[in-house]
């Protein structure tokens, strides 16, 4: 018994709480009385008092609940249960991160690791910089990560629970400046035209280990000579340290993965279609399952069409073949996808035309076997419905959430059910920005920006009722970035209204736990 107890205790850090139903069955089988304990209290008491009883329950679960559950209880992989703490909403006042001598290019990205360390990255004057918030709340001076001699854009950052942080960006790796001077008929100067030719681009990565050491830059993608390639490469970091990077190249989407503590695997062709692959969007869950969605734009003029494509990743098996979802559309669909630990996925995208009836949000569902449903329309029609890219979360139990539109309309689909509206608690002012994430407890976290007043509202979306707790931050931005750590640390980052400052609001954890996110 003791040997088994030691073994079970050793694997406990990855041991999720069993469901209450499973625990009740085990208790009944063992003749134990008492109502099932909440999972968290079960975890907390697993080494205190009634130790033998708890371990018997665990053993019973191992025996009675089936190999899959047993594997998930011990290995912690492919788990359908939360792996950390709920997102804290106790935000401190936003902090200004680092002085910026130049204008910030694009949005700032933020990540939180398992220790509550927050990392923010942004592009400034064609260079990628990063700043880190230590546990005492102080921010480091911005550190330049990219080569100052070339132009770098589109930074992304992700952190795992071990404290490893990965940053990627697109870098111009070559180019030659062409300049020609002109003169008026009298010989007076007429100015110059300039251009850069022979440009090439690549996706570059740097990794910071838990001790704070940055690796040398590493090129992840082949070079491309087209400025249309490698635009906004995707990065997703799983809690356990798995990393996925994606990019578009011509008509195809490529990806590269890195398991925790390992080197990067070779690039993999995820999918391709006619025309040009555009607008890839990558999402990941703590176990490392990922969904990658994009559209292939084919044809020209009136014959141009967009076909949404999606592929899912099982870390153990690799990428499923990409499939087409929905029917080709005339306008850019701005798709998004979400996935859970069992491989159930949801894709959503928009279709729009001049008539209101043509402006709709479409969705499709993929089951764990990779079969996708036909597209359905959600939430009626109208321009406000499709003003933004949809945000999607698929919970471990199969329930799914979509938030979309300039004023954040939400929809929920219970596991095995149909889509329906989800009432959100009203906010003061006019909503115009939204970000959706899922915390380590498996609860979607919605961030909404409003104007008049300018605020950022953060709330956890609970089932079938508006969130009862929320945080309201002063200030708002069009593109906030959200990171939720498994220890409960929450971070929201945005670029200040002067386009020169980075603002980050951090909510410290309300309880300790291990994990990561970003």
């Amino acid at each position: 018994m003791r040997e088994l107890e030691d073994r079970i205790r050793r694997v406990r850090p990855q041991w999720p709480a069993p469901g209450s139903e499973a625990e009740a069955k085990a208790r009944a089988a063992l003749g134990l009385s008492g109502a099932p304990s909440p999972a968290r209290r079960w975890l907390a008491r697993s080494t205190h008092g009634r130790r033998g009883t708890r371990l018997l329950v665990a053993v019973a679960l191992l025996v009675t609940a089936g190999a899959a559950v047993a594997a998930s209880l011990i290995s912690g992989r492919g788990s359908s249960s939360p792996v950390g703490e709920p997102a804290s909403l106790a935000f401190a006042s936003p902090q200004t991160v680092g002085p910026s001598p130049g204008q910030i290019d694009g949005p700032v990205r933020v990540a939180v690791d398992g220790r509550g360390i927050v990392t923010a990255v942004w592009a400034r004057g064609g260079r990628i910089v990063a700043s880190t918030r230590a546990s005492d709340g102080t921010w480091s001076a911005p550190l330049r990560l990219s080569d100052p001699a070339v132009r770098s854009t589109y930074p992304r950052v992700g952190s795992d629970r071990h404290g490893v942080t990965t940053v990627i960006w697109r870098e111009a790796t070559a180019g030659r400046r062409v300049v020609e001077s002109f003169r008026l008929p009298s010989g007076a100067p007429a100015g110059q035209l300039f251009d850069v030719v022979g440009r090439r681009w690549a996706v570059i990565s740097r990794t910071r280990s838990a001790d704070g050491t940055w690796s040398a830059p590493e090129r992840l993608s082949p070079e491309s000579t087209s400025v249309r390639d490698l635009e906004e490469p995707g990065l997703a970091v799983a809690s356990d340290g798995g990393v996925v990077v994606s990019w578009d190249l011509g008509d195809a989407i490529w990806a590269r993965t890195r398991a925790s503590g390992r080197a990067w695997a070779k690039p993999v062709l995820v999918g391709s279609g006619g025309g040009e692959a555009v607008d890839p969007q990558l999402s990941i869950v703590p176990s490392g399952r990922a969904a990658l969605i994009w559209s292939n734009r084919d044809g020209v003029g009136n014959a141009r069409r967009y076909q949404v494509m999606v592929a899912t990743l099982d870390p153990a098996r690799g990428w499923r073949s990409a499939v087409k979802v929905g029917r080709p559309g005339i306008n850019p669909p701005y798709p998004a996808a979400g996935i859970n630990d069992t491989g159930e996925a949801v894709a959503a995208w928009r279709t729009y035309g001049e008539a209101t009836a043509q402006q709709r949000l479409l969705a499709a569902t993929g089951d764990a076997a990779g079969h996708w449903s036909d597209q359905i329309s959600i939430g009626g029609s109208g321009s406000s419905l499709i003003a933004t890219r949809p945000l999607i979360v698929v919970r471990p139990d199969g329930a799914a959430f979509i938030v979309t539109g300039s004023e954040a309309r939400a929809f929920r689909r219970p596991a095995g059910g149909e889509w329906g509206p989800l009432a959100l608690a009203p906010v003061s002012g006019r909503g115009f920005a939204a970000v959706l994430g899922v915390d380590a407890a498996g609860v979607p976290v919605l961030v909404r920006g409003t104007t008049s007043p300018n605020t950022t509202v953060v709330e956890r979306l609970m089932d079938r009722r508006p969130a009862s707790k929320r945080a309201v931050l002063r200030g708002v931005a069009a593109e906030p970035s959200l990171a939720l750590g498994a220890d409960g640390t929450s971070a929201i980052a945005w670029v200040g209204s002067d386009s020169r400052t980075v603002r980050v609001a951090v909510a410290g954890p309300t309880s300790t736990s291990d994990g990561g996110g970003g």
Binding site: F182, L193, V197
Partner: protein, 464 residues
């Protein structure tokens, strides 16, 4: 000789004459109503843009851009009346900058001037090139300093072959307008004309036979902060500086930009459309040298209903042609008017009236705007109008080209005659000209209606 025997030679002569006439009728052309089969310019890299103009002797000049790999070139070709397109020759050889914004003018003798821009990374520089009749294109010369955005030039030639290019530099309210000229001494540096008061298109430019040059465009009047839009006309003085004439009109509520033509006495006639409470009017005024003559209403139509408007010198006066909605969205009217040397007109004449597919395409709300019909005009002694009739919108826009020439002795316009053999997908008219020897028309077409290379065509209709 018997009567029968006497009639035989007569009958034979009749048969011969009839045969000759029959042959002549066949040789009159292979296209509709005597127009020849369209002949395409012999180039296989035409892409981007094409322009054309036709000299008084019927020689068509075509200029277009070509792109080979990452290089851009500007090419030209001529087609004499009854002949073939010449082998394309470079006006600008392959070079790095995108060539865009082409405009061209050709005079009666065949002198030609073209203006265009080099464009790179959001900036542009304006250039011009000149060619004397039967000569070679001169090296392109920068006419204006680089600007952010683009230029909108116009070009015209006088009877001596001197060229003028006028342009708006950049885009937006207050964009400056400049002009440059070409003479035997070459191009001149740009001279400031005025500042535009609206998001103006290229300034309307006309050069008289005697070289008097006028520009018309919307411009502002009044103190800073209290300006109001006016229709302004500027004349270039002998020393090259521009002076503003008294404004012929106030611009009310976003009327159509003006057209201007200088008659044989050197006086400009300006035409413009202005919106009113319940419609719009096409107006015209002639400068007497001292002041503007009384305004003349040439036509009335729906509010914001006037579209393409052109004016050219013709005889002692000017000829004008325009298109407007007859019934908004579905029926178009193409009309023309002539003036005499005093500016008096006998009214406008309907050249064509036709139905087009509803251009709203099912949209629930469309702001009022002009018809899509493009009207081109040639004047001098043989006024002729070219326009396109939209035939279908799906799967792509396709139209047919029509023309009507003024039968001067009879003082009436010919019935509209079709030029193109059939609907022209992705096509648009470029130029038309009429002379004693016949008529010539040029047009362009996207080879792939969904984008891609273009072709330039010419067709002619010889006079009997």
């Amino acid at each position: 000789m018997s009567r029968r025997k006497a009639l035989i030679p007569v009958a034979a002569a009749v048969l011969v004459i009839a045969s000759v006439l029959g042959v002549l009728a066949v040789r009159g052309g292979d296209g509709p109503r005597g127009w020849s089969a369209p002949e395409a310019v012999a180039g296989n890299q035409l892409t981007g843009e094409a322009v054309s103009a036709i000299a008084g002797d019927g020689t068509a000049v075509a200029v277009w851009t070509e792109r080979v790999k990452d290089q851009w070139a500007l090419m030209g070709s001529d087609r004499p009346l009854g002949g073939d397109w010449s082998a394309p020759t470079p006006i600008v050889g392959p070079q790095h900058w995108r060539v865009t914004g082409l405009v061209i003018a050709v005079d009666e003798r065949g002198d030609a001037a073209v203006s265009f821009a080099y464009w790179g990374r959001g900036h542009a520089v304006l250039l011009g090139s000149y060619r004397a009749a039967r000569g070679r294109w001169e090296a392109a010369q920068a006419l204006a300093p680089t600007t952010s955005g683009f230029f909108q030039p116009s070009v015209a030639l006088d009877a001596k072959g001197n060229a003028t290019v006028a342009w708006v530099a950049g885009f937006g309210m207050g964009a400056p307008i400049f002009a440059s000229g070409h003479s035997a001494a070459g191009w001149s540096d740009p001279v400031f004309v005025t500042r535009s008061s609206s998001f103006a298109a290229a300034p309307a430019l006309s050069v008289g036979e005697n070289g008097r040059t006028f520009v018309a465009m919307p411009a502002a009047s009044g103190a800073p902060g209290r300006t109001h839009p006016r229709l302004a006309v500027f004349e270039r003085g002998a020393a090259g500086a521009w002076s503003r004439l008294p404004d012929p009109a106030a611009i009310t509520d976003g009327g159509l930009g003006p057209a201007i033509a200088v008659d044989s006495s050197g006086m400009p006639t300006v035409a413009w459309a202005q919106n009113e409470s319940r419609g719009s009017s096409l107006m015209m005024r002639r400068w007497t040298g001292v002041n503007w003559g009384p305004p003349t209403v040439l036509d009335r139509g729906p509010r914001a209903g006037f579209g393409s408007l052109e004016a050219r010198a013709s005889g002692a006066g000017v000829v004008l042609a325009w298109a407007r909605w007859q019934t908004r969205w579905t029926r178009v009217s193409v009309r023309a008017a002539l003036t005499d040397g005093s500016g008096a007109t006998g009214g406008s004449h309907a050249l064509d009236s036709f139905t087009i597919p509803d251009i709203r395409g099912g949209a629930t709300h469309t702001s009022p705007g002009p018809s899509p019909t493009r009207v081109l005009l040639a004047g001098s002694g043989h006024p002729i109008v070219l326009w396109d009739r939209l035939v279908t919108r799906t799967p792509t826009f396709a139209g047919e080209l029509f023309s009507s020439a003024l039968d001067a002795p009879a003082n009436r316009w010919e019935p509209a005659s079709r030029i193109t053999p059939g609907p022209l997908e992705g096509g648009w008219p470029l130029a038309i000209q009429a002379g004693g020897r016949g008529k010539v028309a040029t047009w362009a077409r996207l080879m792939n209606p969904n984008g891609g290379p273009i072709e330039v065509y010419a067709s002619e209709r010889r006079s009997p």
